[in-house]
Symmetry: C2
């Protein structure tokens, strides 16, 4: 993929603004729209073509990245996808939302082949253009959804963008994505909020804060982040998150019963299982050597299920894309 596509970005907040910086650093042409005066000035200084409104972005770009806040993302994706389907050059549309099935569901039928849902697993507790960073996506994973409507050529083009921004790409079914992030992202936000808020309700909250250990600090870190991201993710991923909460609280109830009934071996096993899980998480972050394979849509989703990631995108032939992949944690 040698000719760099022109990338449109709708919204230049933390994620959109970071992506604009990363792509400009990589010599992409970027067309963007934003309501923030700071972002307009900052983006122009980087050579971004700042335009007014989504129509101009869709008209002027090959791939449109919808990077608004999650609360308005479904409407923005629906609008951009509708415009893209009507445009003669039929640009690809992607998004950066932390849920994938509900976003895919708002894409109109005529635009589904243009759409590739995305979720860069990056961010900080800050928000807005000023908090952006060209290195935001470096070494992170970027989930890219595949379903029966996905055009592998367009998927590969979006994967190239994610790789250009420094990420590795996890191919994933939208519903499986949402179930996974309910456990690995949204549940942690709920636990952080419940723990940080719960400590306020004790008899001596000031004493509790004095006795807050590093473990409490780690647990509650994300409770102090973006003012609405937690609730937006929770509400967008309502059913999957409710399932994840339910399994967590049933597991907690077992620990509580084991403690009160003196089943200390069972308590120890909970900690042992946690230690094994944590070790596998650490192992999965270790780089693995890449291999080159050609995969279609099903093969890509299977790769993702095995923990595989795309680290480079080569040519597309028919419905298959030649990619370099790594599967961390698997013996090589």
């Amino acid at each position: 993929m040698s000719d760099l596509p022109v990338v449109g970005i709708v919204g230049l907040g933390l994620i959109g603004g970071s992506l604009a910086r990363a792509l400009r650093a990589g010599q992409h042409r970027v067309v963007a729209t934003t309501r923030s005066p700071d972002a307009r000035t900052g983006a122009r200084a980087l050579g971004v073509d700042v335009v007014d409104g989504v129509v101009a972005v869709v008209e002027g770009s090959d791939i449109v990245v919808v990077a608004t806040s999650l609360a308005v993302l479904p409407d923005a994706v629906a609008e951009v996808a509708t415009l893209a389907a009507k445009a003669e050059h039929r640009p690809t549309v992607t998004d950066v939302g932390s849920v994938k099935a509900p976003i895919a569901a708002v894409v109109p039928a005529g635009a589904r082949e243009l759409f590739v849902g995305g979720h860069p697993m990056a961010g900080t507790e800050h928000s807005g253009w000023a908090a952006g960073d060209a290195e935001m996506f470096r070494g992170r994973t970027w989930a890219l959804a595949l379903d029966e409507a996905t055009d592998v050529t367009r998927w590969a083009a979006v994967a190239c963008l994610a790789v250009a921004a420094g990420s590795t790409v996890v191919p994933v079914d939208p519903a499986e994505h949402d179930a996974a992030v309910a456990l690995t992202s949204h549940l942690p936000y709920v636990l952080a909020a419940v723990a940080a808020g719960g400590a306020e309700q004790g008899r001596h909250p000031e004493l509790m804060r004095s006795l807050a250990a590093g473990s409490f600090d780690s647990l509650t870190r994300v409770a102090g982040g973006h003012p609405t991201l937690g609730q937006e993710m929770a509400i967008e991923n309502r059913d999957q998150l409710a399932t994840a909460i339910r399994s967590a609280r049933l597991a907690l109830e077992r620990v509580e019963d084991d403690l009160l009934d003196g089943r200390d071996d069972a308590v120890a096993e909970v900690f042992d299982a946690g230690r094994r899980g944590r070790q596998r998480l650490v192992d999965a972050a270790r780089p693995a050597p890449p291999t080159t394979v050609s995969l279609g849509s099903t093969g890509l989703v299977d790769l993702g299920r095995r923990g595989g990631r795309v680290v480079a995108v080569h040519a597309v032939t028919g419905a298959e894309v030649e990619v370099d992949v790594t599967v961390p944690g698997e013996p090589s």
Copy 2:
């Protein structure tokens, strides 16, 4: 308090070994016993008087710090306290265990006035002498228990040690300590273990690990720590931890119901409350200017309940100790 006491340390693991280093750096004489050959060699090189067994430690020191692993700590405290009560010089006995009421309960009646329960809120995921660090306690809080049996002069002497090691001291009732750390330390360990272990039980655990966000990494960090500390703390603080787990899972059940019943305002309020709690935690870590006060046992416990910490120890007069205190987060 100008004449430095001779400090005995029973056990030179992560905490005992770090304390030995910190006190030697501050010119204290230190007498210690340990079964670890590495620790014996390392401690001798620092000028620690390494002896064989607790009898020699008790005989040779003014304050004995029992710093064994939590699993054997109650037995070790009982043994050292019994020896101390029989010794002519009646040394003070303290410990570094992460629960306080169960430890206080094993101190024999004749030794209760010698005992001051302690809990330095410090540590890492490593263990053993080699992982120790003279700076381990710098800037951390060190809880020191007070109850009706506590001798304020001995309490002040142990507080001096904690301050010498770089910590600020939180005076605390033993049962209130255990309730607070159940929420702020032991519950985070349980949540980390349940989350890290639970992710293994999903349909595609490798995919989940690929999609683990920074929030999951923070949440599960302590699940990978010391191989038995989590379960030892849980079992020693059984009832208080069960209460903390129960309140967490009831809060989670409310979030689950609110999500499924579409009460999005209630979901938002959970995140808002978490944000307020996290902000207060961050504020409480900010230094506050010290003031000098004279406090007895009740006044010290009240100070701790308000989030106050002792940062310097001056003279003891009768049953009151003159101390410099800070109350972070309170308007000064």
